[in-house]
Amino acid sequence: MLHTVNKSSFERNSLQSCLNTIDDTSVILLIEDGVISAANNANSSMLSDLATQGRVYALQGDVDARGISSKVADNIKLVDYAGFVDLVVEHGTAVSWV
């Protein structure tokens, strides 16, 4: 499955909720304000394990818009909208943590 998270983990509980129910093969794509969780910050540990496993992506355009491209945590992969489409195609059911 592909899980998309579009809100900051500082503002909302959606990333935590996603992590509570994600299975061992699914991946996460951070979009919109969700990319705030891609930066090195006090919440980074939430995603570090999954990132090490290569299972965390972030939308490049949203990262750049928020001025945090130099701060993206290790092992988080940046994708463009074409990459977003590829993730949807490759990972089966899409779950949005809106």
Binding site: N6, Y81, A82, F84, V88, V89, T93, A94, S96, V98
Partner: protein, 133 residues
């Protein structure tokens, strides 16, 4: 692949519709089919032909219209939920007449229909992706 999209928020207030548009465009560019875009909740507000953004800003409504997403019969597959639309003041000519309202505001690239269209999109498409708040 056949991909459908659900949009839960209106234009300008939330990024949902912008992201969904860029996603849909990228999917089409990659050779996929956008089977249907279903506008629900405040998402119905994306269909207003009254929308007049500033000159230096994108026009979210026209962007969708220009994607020209239609089915084999030539009907638009930008579908606005009728129940959500009526309570939020989005009317096409037929609904305006039914309700005795002078005027209407649905852009002709969109059509109003029922929630069944969302379920059907889920059934007929290989993927359904939701964009919201």
């Amino acid at each position: 692949m056949k991909i459908s999209i659900q949009i839960n928020e209106g234009p300008y207030q939330h990024q949902a519709s912008d992201t969904a548009y860029l996603f849909a465009k990228a999917a089409i560019d990659a050779g996929h089919e956008i089977f249907r875009v279903f506008f629900y909740h405040d998402g119905v507000n994306n269909a207003s032909r009254f929308t007049m953004p500033p000159q230096d800003d994108r026009n979210v409504v026209n962007q969708w219209a220009e994607l020209n997403i239609k089915n084999a019969s030539g009907e638009p597959e930008l579908v606005v939920c009728i129940a959500a639309a009526l309570r939020r003041g989005m009317l096409d000519e037929s609904e305006a007449n039914k309700n005795g309202v002078e005027g209407n505001n649905i852009h002709p690239a969109f059509r109003i229909s029922g929630l069944g269209q969302l379920i059907e999109a889920g059934i007929q498409s290989d993927r359904l992706v939701v964009f919201g708040d």
